[in-house]
Symmetry: D2
């Protein structure tokens, strides 16, 4: 996955064997060193992403959907403290009881919490105090991994693994959220002057979707989220999926044809959103003189016609498909053929036309850890693949991402399909 | 279908052969008398439903989702004028060009229109003028049906048929909308003192859902909406569906167990809606002394424990199912077994867990008439069956109704299912 | 006062002595016939104003600030029942206890009430029932006036008098509210085809304001509102007030000079309101082809350049004055010279630059009847004079009307002044 | 003035002669050293107030009415650059043209600007860059003051003086805004652990207000704001003003008597605000166990019954006065006797019952500098005196402060009066 290569050109220390993902939690004997390496690897990546940001940058919350970098760094740490150390490390000293309220996110079962819209008001604890919090928890987790009895570790590893994937999700959000914040500034701040979007393969042609029963969802003993289960069968209708992603050049043709001004191309809710928010181009696009530019993590850049379009909402993706006389694939169609697609991973998440609902027989995890995926199963659409912002080792074929159809601050793009004529 | 029996006990004039539905539009020779009878039947039913309402009652719009009775009566009339008479009746005189703006609803392709939220402000035309408008259009439609050449009728009948089903949909809304308006009054106005909810069969037990490929969607040459096509195959997972509907007695147990106060039972968006709107019982329920009563078309009535619960949102239905350790059926599961279910029709629409999306290969009708079903394919859930408010002859097995998951002013209820253990 | 002359051309039955205002409440002996005549006169004027309106017209509430005609007719009736009959007429039978909740307006001390924004939802009681309610109360009031002991009448007359002035205020609102409702319709409904705005005298020149101590507020034993007292002294700065009102011709010059597009002319809150609501002309003005027209009680009419401008907010009046290099008068300056001004009464209320606050030593009436004037003494500005909609006999020199500075659905206009150079 | 003494106990370097206010701008010869000293004094006070705050603290904007510390520091600097250096210092190099957009506040005449609600999103320029901006401008201003020809200085000094008073106003806001931000945190952050509220003199008794003509407004050749002119006469009604301020003890009695639950005590708009925002005590009060505590610049502290109540809105002050059977003074009454009142300055701003409007004959300054005071002359009330947050040397007898009646994040308190019986 080429995702973050642009930012890691100086990273000559990368080990031959990747530190992530860790071994399956059921692997025996337990490879403590591998788990400690995986933990350090993930924790370090968070810090690497935060490093270019000042205390002020890390403070800001630019909209309700986004969170401050500092909050991300503390929240993922709180997750380990709350679900792992508090329960499983005898004698663990809570770093600061007051942080519990501030850095819980949505876990109702874990108690009251800072209102989501006011995360940007938390100036105390300071950046340094959050760094100290991270170090405190890191020492405790590593001590636990190094010293706990095997029986304890068997209970601990599944939680640790969730915690690591959870932190990686926030690494992606850290980038998308700071990009949103910077995009609000007329000054076009630069996160990393060397940033560039990975080059898309852009192969022409299509992959055939044969009619038949497909098996969908997580298999094997590796990590998965609860919403990828149970693995089950579904009926695939025949059709074809594009090998390439929709590009900025394609999108400019849609715009030139009045795509944003023709209500007949849009879902009713989408037309309302587009009018309310004044959409006339993908997110972060600005007119600069006669041309279009876009805010990126490298600052304000001219539009690259060959790059995949990104920061488009489901509503825009759907309108584009209708304009093109085509459709978005279902998530099942995507999963069936993705292993053979270039650019399935590492560039842009790909909107599917599948609403985000439970797989047949789905059961959420019990307790607070199960509060996440299941409670959002209404009003959102599934995205598949991964994006340039997704950390290495995080993406997996059956992974189901989901966002509301009006949202566009993620690296979201479009791959088209055709039903059989 | 027992739907409207309660209101028609004195209707001894009902013909032996029902006037609705009309023959298939492809039936030859064209049975003009049958079509005229069907037209008169539908038009008369609208007037029958409006009859107990004063000019003031017919004027009021109690929320954005609802419309005034007078508006319903005029809008369905405008539909015939706009799509049928204007095009197909030579020499037709538009009744009043100014009504076009007022009584177009959402057909963007048909031009600008009165803002939806301001339908309650249209005091002119008056009730009498709307009645005259209806008569003017009725005369013209009947003349067209009686006198047009067969070739013309071949083009006209499909539009007429859509117009009749369209008017029946508004007949259902007429009742749900006036009930909402009356429910806002502290006085509990009575629409029909003789109103009673049809008795549910309430059979215990379940129907088996065998695993297999099912064919779903409209078949044959009868009427259907575009969103019921194309007929296609889907894979049914094994399970069981209840023969009975969830009753008020069941719901009171959910309430007594704190169902409205336990966030872990609710979808995240549902919990937000329930808190914002202060839900603690189904829609229209009021505490009267120590007991619950509910607003009905017969006025304020005590809760009948044996009646099916109604005026519950998708969010509530979903929370109830989770509380009961069960699930809502999919729309495909429902369609597979509904022919064998008592109370599938005529009592309450039944929420399914299927988001409202296109069937594979779906194409909307061209032009303004195709603007309806397709443009709402996001953020809504499918309901199946029909309700006490659905006009006779309107309900059909593959019919797909859809509403937003927070809405509860329709006669919406719950039927539960179980996946195979 | 020429106010309502246009509407009363056929009223040949007008008595030589006006029926309103009634004698002072302290006049002895009590002239029962005069009070009954005054009561009948006021009550009849309400009905006269409602007469051209259908049941539907009388039902509608077009914004939160406005109320339905039916509500006005019932509310003023409730006032007599609540404050006069309930207390002072032995054996009085409340017409319908349920109306109390519906037709109380803002009298917190008189108990809970229908939310202001939902007055348009009250379809029951019907128009006929409200008419019956009025008749029931009329009979009781007249019986009380005719038969009560003198001692009782001494307590009753001050309440009766307030009730009559109160009803007259609602007569004015009845017209302004229905005009607002009709102005929302694209059809431009006509209230009275014979309506015309009274001709302004439009004398040129100014009246001198000499420096000195002026006595301000109510004097004598006639009726007054509590906010006109106590009569007190204030210091008048020297200056001049225009004899004429600002006309539509004047206002068109302001518009032509970009008055609505220059933020430097506007108060900060006013600029915000003008942008939020898209003001580019006075209220109810519409472009018809290349010209301006305006909605009136006579329907849509071309702008008359010689007529006084009306339906302008305080913010607009203030911006206009700044543009003209002049000022609005204070309410004290206005009161000092108004007796010598043409058009002080009967055309448009005149915005003053005086915020609406208490006179020194002001005390509100005790109890619910005192809830009105005092509780609004913040954020509003005083208007003086009266308008074309003010009932005959209602206007008085020290009368203080008040509205929020953004409101413009009343007949509000502008008279300018100059401080001494 | 005892205002900021608590924070300056270690400030042994204070000069014998105060550095502020500077000499009158008309004093000749021009005392360049005194002006440079005044400039340095004011600029240093801003930095002193910002010093305890981290980069994160200085970044946060906790509501629309408040601004970040960093923004305050930059905006007051921009003021000197925009209105003084750009025009009057030949060869001045603009520090960074892009800052103009970010740090303009409301000066429409000075061009477009960062939306007020998004000031908290400006993470770049950083704190250090703002510090550098301040240094750049300081060097230029001091060079101008030291080297410009006398003729130039005559034009410059009036602008400089406005700039210094302007910066002092923002010093006060800096404190009130950071207190508001800290009060949003459940952690109760401490700005200065040594903070204490100055002790009130709390003398009993009253000062007589004799009836008569008083001269009101700015006199002499010292600094004043445009809204204090022209000096003019007004008529004072006889009465008495309290020597003492309303205390927390007094306020607790109001609360204990249900003051926040009795609508009859409140203005209509005030009651609405109190219900919407859930007021049950002054701003920043929190229940801690059975007692009340309040957020202060020293962190969360128990209520001191002897201290003057503060962080109360006009609506609360007015309700309190009505409850006590008394009134707030007018701003003219206050100005007439304030020289003889203890605690007129340095503790809490005192709400008057005077709406904020122009003095007779008022003319705003021309150009952008005149945009401030005049454009807010609607919907606000005048406060007089000064508060604990007001910088030394800033307060003056005729000073007119003004805020909206619902606002309570300033140090606003209450002094009562009685009209003559």
């Amino acid at each position: 996955m080429a995702a973050t290569a642009a930012l890691r050109t100086d990273d000559a220390r990368a080990p031959a064997a990747p530190a992530f993902p860790p071994p399956p939690v059921t692997a025996r004997p337990i490879d403590r060193a591998a788990w400690i390496a995986a933990y350090r690897h993930v924790r370090a990546e968070t810090e690497r992403r935060a490093a270019p940001l000042s205390a002020e940058d890390q403070q800001v919350q630019s909209m309700e959907d986004a969170s401050p970098t500092k909050w991300h760094r503390a929240h993922v740490t709180w997750f380990f403290e709350q679900f792992l150390l508090r329960e499983h490390l005898p004698g663990y000293r809570i770093h600061d009881e007051r942080l519990h309220y501030l850095f819980n996110s949505y876990y109702v079962a874990a108690g009251p919490r800072q209102p989501r819209t006011q995360r940007g008001l938390i100036t105390r604890p300071t950046l340094d105090e959050v760094t100290a919090y991270r170090a405190h928890v890191d020492r405790a987790v590593e001590a636990l991994l190094g010293q706990a009895a095997d029986g304890t570790l068997e209970a601990v590893l599944p939680i640790l693994e969730i915690g690591l994937y959870h932190e990686q999700q926030h690494q992606e959000l850290l980038w998308t959220d700071i990009l949103h914040a910077f995009a609000q500034s007329p000054l076009g701040p630069v996160y990393d002057a060397g940033w560039r979007f990975p080059r898309a393969v852009s192969e022409p042609g299509q992959v055939e979707l044969p009619r038949g029963i497909a098996r969908i969802g997580h298999a094997g003993d590796g990590f998965s989220y609860d919403n990828e289960s149970p693995r089950h069968e579904t009926l695939i209708q025949p059709g074809r999926i594009d090998r390439g992603l929709v590009t900025n050049r394609d999108w400019l043709a849609f715009m030139a044809d009045g795509g944003y001004a023709k209500p007949e191309l849009w879902l009713s809710d989408g037309w309302y959103a587009s009018q309310r928010d004044g959409w006339e181009a993908p997110g972060y696009w600005r007119r600069e003189g006669g041309d279009w530019a876009t805010m990126t993590l490298g600052g304000l850049r001219p539009i690259d016609p060959d790059a995949p379009v990104t920061h488009v909402s489901y509503y825009e993706a759907d309108a584009y498909a209708r304009w093109a006389g085509r459709v978005l694939p279902t998530e099942f169609e995507w999963e069936t053929v993705a292993a053979g697609l270039p650019d399935a991973f590492g560039l842009v998440w790909q909107w599917t036309r599948s609403p985000y609902v439970a797989y047949p027989g789905y059961r959420p995890l019990p307790g607070a850890l199960g509060e996440y995926n299941g409670k959002f199963m209404a009003n959102q659409f599934v995205l598949r693949g991964s994006s340039v912002a997704t950390p290495e080792g995080h993406a997996r074929l059956p992974y189901r991402n989901f966002f509301y159809p009006h949202q566009r601050w993620q690296f979201t793009g479009v791959r088209l399909a055709d039903p059989q004529a």
